[in-house]
Symmetry: C3
Subunit: 132 residues, 3 copies
């Protein structure tokens, strides 16, 4: 397992971490298997989406903030319930297939860390299991 | 890894691909492990839900279209931001346990490709890793 | 694969099953690999979130019930379409990295079964694949 530290700079934001995941695949030396990306946080998430037009990310964050408003008579005293809810909706783990030592993704896909309660320093864990 | 091509016929739709995933499991010859289903697209997704009553799928698509409206002052010029957002909410990868050469799912479960920006031709990638 | 039975007591609820997942990891004897948690139901889900303050869970269920209302002119006759939709939004499978025989999670994270159509008796399947 390899750990990467990612610093976020806004309250909600998507950061392209595709190069980190590819680095972990190379480092592992695994030819065929599955890459697990995991964020050990409860107010962040990991997703795959388009990395070509940055407006896709902005639209995604804008709409998620509408679907789950920052304030809504939440009981949790820390004031970040919206971030916890978005974390569960998007998810904190991902599986990507590895073949011939390369991460198998679509032309427009990349892996993104989703920050929902920033700015903070976040950990991303990547593990590549050889699949036999 | 096995690739399947699925043709969709509507703007948003769920297509049962359970038989394709089962085909990949048989083809792999793996007895015990994990099956990863991955859609290499940013305006589609993959999920597991009920395959008995087709109205479940229609309700699911109807409600997702309410939660994430087609138009909402999105910045992305291609006009398919809603599809990108739904792709992240549902997710593009899935893990299913394989035991004794069989996909382990509940009685009412099947795997579905979710089309959010169709009609199109979509790819589905399935990999079965032997889990030792 | 190990199967656990979890009894739920409300219509919607999150139940901490972290100890069951840890039990499965110990039982497997796997040192390094990936743990797959899978719920074989179409009106339940599995997620990772905070286990410290129970109000996080209550806020999460409250907000999900707002995003996906119980009644909304759904076509599915069984009356539990909202539960099916929430199951797809949260997801029925999860992957967690295992290192040195231990589940790798963040300080505040635990695994939760999400009940969306209870009370019922639910199955949770856990499989740990050795990752080479």
């Amino acid at each position: 397992m390899k750990e990467y530290i990612v610093k976020t700079s806004s309250r909600t934001e998507m950061i392209d971490i595709g190069h980190l995941v590819e680095d972990a695949v190379r480092y592992s030396g695994v030819e065929n298997g599955v890459c697990t990306v995991f964020v050990p946080h409860t107010t962040a998430a990991v997703t795959i989406n388009e990395n070509a037009d940055p407006s896709v990310r902005r639209d995604l964050m804008m709409e998620l903030n509408k679907i789950v408003p920052y304030t809504d008579n939440y009981a949790h005293r820390e004031g970040n319930s919206a971030a916890h809810i978005k974390s569960t909706l998007v998810g904190c783990s991902l599986s990507v297939i590895v073949q011939s030592g390369k991460l198998q993704m679509g032309t427009w896909q990349s892996v993104f860390l989703c920050e929902f309660d920033g700015p903070r320093s976040r950990k991303v864990w990547v593990y590549i299991g050889a699949g036999g």
